[in-house]
Subunit: 352 residues, 4 copies
């Protein structure tokens, strides 16, 4: 098969280097351009020494990059960049995967509230598809623009989906998602709070007054449950925490079971729901997943528990940069171009 | 004042070395014996290089140690040791603080269920006092035997106490305590799962089929709420997790507020409840506590939030070895012997 | 091409799981047996959750395993196991790669001194080949038994080789190798000193009275320099240290330059020496390598410096489990069976 | 005794918060002002949550601070600040301890070369005293201005001093100091390279083209050896490395022994040299010091080894922020004001 011509806009952050790591070994991808105004001219391998000898490309300015001739362009940029360039690229026949948030929220008011800007192309937003392949595979295959999900929302959605898709099992208006991320989730930004000497040997909650992934989680959980937008019957309290690890995300999800839910075989429900998924691993009953078991892999592992008669608890882990970001983006690419979904994503977790 | 004659039984673990660190600088404590069958004859400072030049004592066998002449003996031993020796020591006029679990559960059936042994001295158990000074100060002052609380239970009790003491604020039968500990909480045991190469850069839940601190938490929360033992009106789901840090414990507590609770001024409730406490720091509204802010200090910090109209969330941090174990034991000692409660406990957290 | 039938003896340690990670994706390897007396019957993926869904094999007892039908057997065992089984396997036509030390030292007296046992098969030792492909490629290709080098010795040999191969550049009798390893180098052993709470946020030297890799380093450096065994003209002081990271090895090598050496173009010397090597990356002048740049990859990176007119300093990094152990073992396998040397070893370092 | 009136200029960095931690418990120190233009008005405890409830002071602008009425002012500022303000303070009768480098190098040309600025007050530099109490106690006691030593230079000087003070033991012109620091040594600066996701699980050399502590080390080693300034007979190659820990510094020092040195009893030499020092702990023969054994304490531990007949190796550890910076500053303060040298510095290392 002809190799896909791939462009990356941005790419100086952690989702960027992870995307490069994966694409460098993807048998059907040919990276033709990677742009960064700030680092234009610098070989990618000078910024990320892990890429020495593997990727010859240098960063170029957006103007010099042949993005319009690409089959697919990934945006690994700050919020707001993808929506500003989407129209021109789409009109040129280029498909897009945005790893930022520009196409994650269909609710325009919420987008403006949480991201502090008007949406630049509401009509493209409307046709864009939320790129969680396990739940939206067919739409993704046909999409011109795919919104790569946030890292936390991926764990929360895949964790709750089996319970929400079957009506009447849980009290969906009082879900709790107690989530933990490694520090790379905050990006490659020179901020005091992300320093080794601040974040190491430490644990804290953050974003307690509200986090951008909250509205994304709830918009999507409502869709999964089949509730009309704005419907209040699904509500998840999302509380993120920061743990001293580089990669890794762990979500502990709580839902009160209805009397019907209390009689359901939850282990079978989950096992069957994900039976045909390559990247979702439902652990045997009684197990606990560990983040290190997915370090560098595109796998999400989960375990379903019932610690109290009327309570379901789901433990979910993923690598926030792989299944939580760039691995999922490559998975979306595979779906969009009709490749086997695991292409280029089959390397095993690095453990220990 | 005459220095108290202090003995330590056990002391080769992390609560032991923390106790030694604190007692070495306590102006009214004179350490006269520390016992360990296994390490008998070895200078304490050979086992813990941080004590070189500070503590001259060597470990002795329990038989050689002048424990019966002590004013106070700490048990920093595995479960089951303190209750076997308590009777003889108490009869000799020695007071006891047990850092293990022998005197934590008043319910004998639960003790046997969770610790796999019959209780050796139920009558002493009955007179013993649960040593959480902020809630039981007067009883501790007079006690012959003090049960030093578990690390997790300390955070959960001090976190929920203001809400539970005022009747009718929360749905007390559906509390959730999502808790995280640093690895030192598991003790100084040569186990694969606690190796650096296993526990580092990793996060996981554990004890999901039930953890010994669960019944302790619920027995004490019922007491705080004034519910009769066995009463089911208080029930807390406790889920512990392991994070890659040496010291530090973080509990995220969730409670649904009743209509009454939703109108209460929770910030004031907490601020007033702990206004006179030296070791409980209620943060200003909107804050998040960090575990590193209490590293090596006997302080517990907490913040009360209302992330959803009908939900209270309390964030609690402590050093699991200090306020969560040995610091609290010294605090109990101070209370028992009429010393100012902060004596020997005033050093600041080590940050960064 | 027909897939090679591969057996692994041992494999419950970190070099074992790393070998499994690599072989699971090797296009020409078919893993037919993995043995462990202790874990016989347990699926490999139950011990190492990162392998779930990737490796179906269970551990078997050595007696039940079809090792004699293999093309190649890896020994990822404690010292002494491989040499006890080598004769039978070799006679059955099976080739061997020992990841332990049984075939690393040609000097029998030193083997006994450092490993506390007589060598079980000196005649096989004599024909065995020390498996550092960059220096012994042709001999490895024909060997029946390959001694996979120690992790530290790999960095020291590849670091000093260009200087030693050209006679007269350095004072070879006073080399210094100040080396640092991540904790996984000590293996998956339940020892107090390897606990997270002991090894984290800590740094120390170890093995200062002598380390087994010392004689290995010196025996090989003499060979590289062309000095007769026992010749004293090459002597390297090797000092290992332990740093709080899972994977990663860093060696800082010092050599005094002779007047001739001071006039040499060391950067070119190194660049040319390794110009055709896929797994040795000589950094540009003035660079420093970081261990994370090779995390999980089979690459060794080095930089040559001259910090004082008469002193050469070489900075070398590798992943101790990959190029320092199991990656190098697979590289040796590729050489032994005439495969391209990079087969199955082309995945990029995981960074961050 | 009357409490000393203390001012701190700067103090928003890690040496600042460490100084505050120590001074808050110093029985003879009264902190009257702490300045920061950037943070003026902010309570110190808002910046460093570990100080909540312990230090009431807020940062003030330099102009508002009553520095001229202080007995002593610490400068915990970037290089260049102390020398600009020293004249006015000294003339007002205030004594100074500079934790930066303004008074560390007596050689003006080297100061300009390494710090990129002319010295502002060469005459004050000349009278200032290099504040390593173990070697310069009497001069410090009388000094108006004390240059607090760099962290690395403290370990290198105290490590080599016994060997250098006795003439003829070592080849002093070829010393090697292979040194390692925790990340806090780089300060509280928002730089990419210091992020948790960059510095964690990583190890690298840095400053290989020259580091500011190099000239400081050599100027002081020459003084210790009694060599005239500019004399070349003492030369130490200093190579710093970065390890993933918050606090902690480890130096591995190498010196070739002369024939005389080879017959000396090095263990006794070191033990006697430091016999009366409260903060230098010479370990028993054969020991290795660990950085964690001094975490948060003002102790420097070292061990002297002879790994090769003609080579001495000294292993030295300290907490880079305590004995390596702020603890040593308080030790200097004690010396300057005739207090027992251990005042306020007697808390034990936090281990684990």
């Amino acid at each position: 098969m002809k190799r896909l011509r791939i462009g990356i806009v941005g790419g100086t952050g952690y989702t960027g280097v992870e995307l490069l790591r994966l694409l460098a070994r993807h048998p059907h991808a040919e990276l033709v351009a990677i742009t960064s105004r700030k680092e234009a001219g610098m070989p990618v391998a000078d910024l990320f020494p892990s890429l020495r000898g593997q990727i010859d490309l240098a960063f170029s300015t957006p103007d010099d990059a042949p993005l319009h001739t690409c089959d697919l362009v990934f945006f690994a940029t700050p919020h707001g960049v993808a929506m500003a360039q989407a129209r021109r690229l789409v009109d040129a026949g280029v498909r897009l995967i945005d790893l930022a948030a520009d196409f994650r929220l269909q609710n325009l008011a919420e987008f403006t509230q949480w991201y502090g800007m008007e949406h630049a192309c509401p009509e493209l937003l409307q046709e864009s598809v939320y790129g969680l392949p396990e739940l939206r595979r067919e739409a993704i295959a046909k999409a011109r623009i795919v919104a790569n999900p946030g890292c936390y929302p991926t764990t929360v959605q895949l964790g709750f989906a089996p319970l929400l898709r079957t009506p009447g099992l849980i009290e969906a208006d009082h879900l709790v998602a107690n989530c933990v991320s490694g520090v790379s989730g905050a990006g490659r930004k020179a901020e005091i709070g992300l320093l080794f000497s601040e974040a190491s040997d430490n644990y804290k909650a953050y974003g307690v007054k509200g986090h951008r992934h909250g509205p994304e989680i709830n918009e999507q959980l409502r869709r999964i449950a089949g509730v009309a937008p704005g419907g209040g019957a699904v509500d998840c309290l999302f509380v993120p925490h920061l743990a001293p690890m580089i990669r890794g995300m762990h979500s502990t999800l709580y839902a009160r079971l209805t009397p019907t839910g209390q009689t359901a075989d939850l282990q079978s429900l989950y096992a069957e729901f994900y039976a045909r998924e390559a990247f979702v691993d439902v652990l045997p009953a009684g197990s606990v997943p560990e983040t290190r078991s997915v370090r560098g892999a595109n796998t999400l592992r989960l375990a379903i528990h019932r610690p109290r008669a009327d309570t379901a608890m789901i433990l979910v882990v993923q690598d926030n940069l792989t299944k939580g970001a760039s691995g999922q983006a490559v998975q979306n690419m595979n779906v969009m171009f009709g490749l086997p979904e695991t292409t280029g994503l089959d390397s095993l977790a690095v453990l220990p």
